[in-house]
Symmetry: C2
Subunit: 231 residues, 2 copies
């Protein structure tokens, strides 16, 4: 039997190594002037649909690109490529989250200083991605109305480590009797003050507000001397 | 930096230790004559609603009990307790899955030979629970229609290690334009021959077929000398 302390030690070292790579990445992103936004959520809460809509709407005004993580298939990269933005798939095999080194490898050959925004869609998982910094400036946690209002309380760490919550599939809110006030209240309980947006990738509702949020975030970021101060 | 081999070695030892405890549990369940069914899925795909309905419908005819895993809160145990079946919450903290040792601890004081069925609801996660045997006879993977038909292809391991797929929230299938044929086809691609049930915990549709499946599973299990042969 392995002593629990040894396991914890190994895990902490892995996290530390990831943090070193994430810090290097963050500096590269900052030097290149690209604003990096990661997306985390359960499987099926609409990350890819939301990101495809975002890329498509932004392309006339910004240089945008995306990385997308999945255990298997490059289906999501194919979907996102319909936006005509540059997209790369990261396939993790059995790994339940993206790590900074995977992002670094996936970026080889890309000229980051040509980009305004880079989006990183994590593996669908409300637990493990919370612990891995991938060098992003801004982490979004998506919660679809079909998952229920209680998820922030049951998965507090992923909400705690995010900068913005996005309620997705709002077009279905009435059909599933989603209690918006309860969802807001639960988010605020685990992450007081976190902004919450409501969108429907299907109808487009809420997308303008989201794009304004991104524009402000980038402006605020460029106006500061370090990435850490930006958000 | 930690050599990758050391990490893999540690992880394999943890899995091996879990397998030893899971084997002990499986023997205990078999000796007690209790049929043990675990439920895995994404967060919010309806495990708790499905299980509450199952427990409520079974109680007149069977002795049933449940364990439920979450990172935080005992909300699910409270919901399941409305069925009046004995229920215990396992709180995992930041751990993304249940392990056999947690199940063993949670069972202390319960007389297993008084039970016909024990249900174990895992943490909501389509990746990590796949690798951890908890001594169950039967593993169910739930997929809600709101998550999309592609999930079996993107999370193959959890479908590969399950014995039955249950499509949940069928009452919403039309609203989200769920393609049932595509979902079936994707499940069969990763796990040929796996039975697939369709249910709505809200309307009750499909529940009778599910209860018949459970009754047959238990009958088949009791008719065999070892658990391994039963399913």
């Amino acid at each position: 039997m392995i002593p629990q302390t040894r396991l914890v030690e190994v895990r902490q070292n892995v996290l530390k190594q990831n943090d070193i790579v994430a810090r290097e990445l963050r500096q590269r992103f900052h030097d290149a002037g690209v604003c990096v936004v990661s997306l985390v959520s359960s499987p099926g809460s609409g990350k890819t649909a939301f990101l495809e809509k975002t890329l498509t709407m932004m392309r006339p005004n910004y240089h945008v690109a995306a990385l997308v993580g999945d255990l298997a298939t490059d289906n999501d990269a194919a979907r996102l490529a319909r936006s005509r933005a540059p997209v790369r798939q990261i396939t993790t095999g059995t790994l339940c989250h993206l790590e900074a080194a995977m992002v670094r490898t996936a970026l080889v050959g890309w000229e980051l200083d040509q980009l305004d925004f880079l989006f990183i869609e994590n593996v669908g998982n409300l637990v493990c991605p919370a612990s891995y910094d991938v060098g992003e400036d801004l982490r979004l946690v998506l919660l679809s109305v079909t998952e229920g209002e209680d998820k922030p309380l049951k998965y507090p760490t992923i909400f705690n480590t995010s900068d913005l919550a996005v309620l997705t599939k709002m077009d279905l809110a009435e059909a599933v009797e989603f209690d918006i006030a309860a969802a807001h209240s639960n988010i605020q309980r685990v992450r007081p003050g976190m902004p919450v947006l409501r969108v429907s990738s299907k109808s487009g509702a809420g997308m303008d507000e989201w794009l304004q949020f991104l524009a402000s975030a980038r402006k605020s970021r460029l106006g500061h001397s370090t990435v850490e101060q930006a958000f």
